[in-house]
């Protein structure tokens, strides 16, 4: 395996490869592995460090800086502002996500086929691509013994209310429910690209430069011929080494915020002016319920299933147990009052409502950093209120003592009658507290340069040799966890990528 880190670099580091892939998450790792297996000389460029499975532990203070962009302190500006999290390590977001492997609903793929005018994005044509991805990441349901009490409670509640509940299929091989998806799976069961795709690529001769920030593309005669970056000293966080990678093609797979941020530096995407537009993020909100008995939500797999009864309205609900540090940052109390609530951590069911986007935001550059802007619409807001009410009702139905609501001006519901107050008190979109991890759609794929950023091969319309292979390709929101769709799109890009003679 050839994984280089900052300590291995000279003052000016130059590499050559047939294909340079920026990013090693769900998009980058897949496209690079497919190309390496096809005999291409692939070089990955990853901003984060290499952290093997044996290094993962449940401590947030260690994991956040090592595995997350900006130590988890990232935010989308808008009404309301939405904190978001994305991975920054070898394996990218797949190291820190829940590993859900939902395929996009058929109507979404049909819409993509219609919007792009390409039937090969339709459900039938995409089926073998999804099959290939799912086989490689072992997408399958959990073993029942790994399901925790919080998931079971949600399932029982949904059944009692007559709602459709579906167990999650996940990228996992013998997952034992350690519930550490967020801080890197310490058992190696979650099939992040760190343990699934990347070892395949490296065994085929691919190389990986870690701790390198891609600052700009290397462009010669109107063609992308490489990446110019800098090595980041992990101790000082200073960019003190110059790194150049020359390649016949460059694949940008840094996610829906960092990809447009990099491309906008070169004023690309001019034909359609859509680069950085069409930003989608599946905003979600949390509902915490306190039960009279302990349920130990931190034991057992995170998100055993989803309530999909309201899928047609664009509302999904699931449990999502997070470590106490994350939970405490989300509760509406400080000091001893917060501690009093956190003493009930073992009795806490942490659940969330995800709402499918009904409109789009944008990503631009501001003071050397990406600026993501997104505001929910009154329609989204109304669905959030409905989703919160549904979930809180379920918790009270299952015997919850109280429910902590995600509103800055209405924190606690003590019984089901209190939920009637939601409509009365929540007139403004600014009072709801949201969060997201599903960023999509800022370099939309299409067959017409007037309304898309990249062509159907993933290549930029106005920069030959530069491809995109991540969630930014999505023409619309997928409405489900996007990992498998990103991997499928990256597989397509790998199949269609053509190198110059």
């Amino acid at each position: 395996m050839t994984i280089l880190a900052h300590r291995d670099y000279r003052q000016v580091e130059t590499h050559e490869a047939e294909v340079a892939v920026i990013g090693t998450g769900a998009g980058g790792a897949v496209v690079g592995t497919e190309l390496a297996e096809a005999g291409r000389d692939v070089l990955f460029v990853e901003e984060g460090g290499y952290h093997p499975t044996s290094s993962f532990n449940p401590y947030l203070t260690e994991s956040l800086p090592r595995l997350f962009r900006d130590a988890g302190g990232t935010i989308i500006m808008g009404r309301p502002p939405i904190p978001y999290a994305e991975g920054r390590c070898v394996g990218g977001g797949t190291v820190v996500n829940g590993g859900m492997t939902w395929r996009p609903p058929e109507q979404v793929l049909m819409q993509w086929a219609r919007l792009t005018g390409q039937p090969d994005l339709g459900p039938k044509a995409m089926e073998p691509v999804f099959d290939r991805v799912e086989q490689r990441i072992h997408a399958k349901p959990q073993h029942p013994s790994s399901i925790g009490e919080d998931s079971r409670l949600l399932e029982r509640g949904a059944r009692r209310l007559g709602w459709r509940y579906e167990p999650n299929r996940r990228a996992q091989d013998r997952c034992v429910g350690s519930n550490q998806c967020l801080t890197g799976c310490p058992t190696g069961a979650k099939q992040s690209t760190l343990v699934s795709y990347l070892p395949r690529a490296l065994s085929r001769g691919a190389r990986c430069l870690t701790e390198v920030r891609a600052n700009r593309l290397w462009i010669e005669n109107g063609r992308c011929v490489g990446v110019l970056g800098s090595g980041i000293n992990p101790r000082t966080r200073e960019e003190d080494v110059e790194v150049r990678v020359r390649a016949k093609a460059v694949v940008v797979a840094c996610g829906a915020i960092q990809t447009p941020f990099l491309l906008l530096r070169h004023r690309l995407g001019r034909p359609s002016r859509q680069l950085g537009k069409n930003f989608l993020c599946h905003p979600n909100t949390k509902v915490l319920a306190i039960y009279p008995h302990d349920i130990y939500a931190w034991q057992g797999v995170s998100q055993g299933g989803q309530i999909r009864e309201f899928r047609d309205e664009g509302i999904l609900m699931a449990e999502n147990a997070v470590p106490p540090g994350t939970a405490a940052a989300q509760i509406p109390f400080l000091g001893d009052e917060a501690l009093e609530l956190m003493k009930r951590y073992n009795a806490m069911a942490m659940t969330g409502v995800l709402v499918e986007d009904s409109h789009a935001g944008s990503v631009s550059r501001c003071l050397g950093a990406p600026l993501a802007k997104y505001s929910i619409t009154p329609y989204d807001h109304e669905r959030f209120l409905r989703g919160v009410r549904y979930l809180a009702t379920l918790h009270f139905e299952m015997g919850a003592e109280k429910v902590i609501l995600p509103f800055s001006n209405f924190h606690v519901a003590n019984d089901v009658d209190d939920l009637a107050e939601i409509e009365r008190t929540q007139r403004s979109r600014s009072t709801i507290e949201l969060f997201t991890v599903h960023m999509m759609g800022t370099c939309r794929m299409g067959s017409d340069p007037r309304d898309s950023v990249v062509n159907m091969s993933g290549e930029l319309w106005d920069l030959p040799g530069c491809y995109v292979a991540d969630a930014s390709l999505f023409p619309t929101a997928v409405g489900v966890n996007p990992q498998v769709t990103i991997m499928a799109m990256a597989t397509l890009v790998a199949q269609r990528l053509r190198l110059p003679n």
Partner: protein, 158 residues
């Protein structure tokens, strides 16, 4: 990230007002402040600077809330906490936004300490070790059984 003594004092004051008063060890305040500074190093410089300006602004909250002339650093912790609680419940979104950063940083750091884990009866390390061992047995061909349930009493005792 390197900060001056004054900023350090502001961060210590904010941490003191945000995290629970007990339990704490003698190092708790230093530890959560150190974690905040480490996190800032991982952010773009412009974001880190903006965060620190936000903390300066918070320090003068009594003044711009028209509740006093002294900054939080000059007030008793209980009074400073009352100011911050009011800010988290402000009807103005930009003011609440100002509190996102310090609350997230200090609370996540505090509740990541072993003594805080004990206080809330959370014990992930033995549980995870138990599950790693279980997966090793599964890989060796052991058939999953009722003893492997995630809520087996042995695994439940924190």
């Amino acid at each position: 990230m390197e900060v001056g003594a004054r900023m350090r004092r502001i961060l210590l004051t904010l941490a003191d007002s945000i995290i629970p008063e007990s339990p704490r060890t003698p190092d708790t305040l230093e530890e959560v402040t150190r974690h905040a500074l480490v996190s800032l190093r991982y952010m773009p410089r412009s974001s880190a600077r903006m965060f620190l300006w936000g903390m300066r602004l918070l320090n003068w909250a009594p003044l711009w809330r028209l509740r006093g002339l002294r900054p939080l650093t000059a007030l008793p912790a209980a009074v400073a906490r009352r100011h911050l609680v009011a800010l988290t419940q402000s009807r103005w979104l930009p003011i609440r936004l100002l509190m996102y950063g310090p609350v997230g940083l200090f609370m996540s750091s505090y509740f990541d300490q072993d003594f805080a884990h004990r206080e809330i009866k959370y014990a992930p390390v033995p549980f995870v070790a138990d599950r790693i061992e279980l997966r090793r047995r599964w890989i060796e061909g052991h058939e999953p059984g009722s003893d492997d349930e995630v809520h087996h009493p042995a695994a439940l005792a924190p």
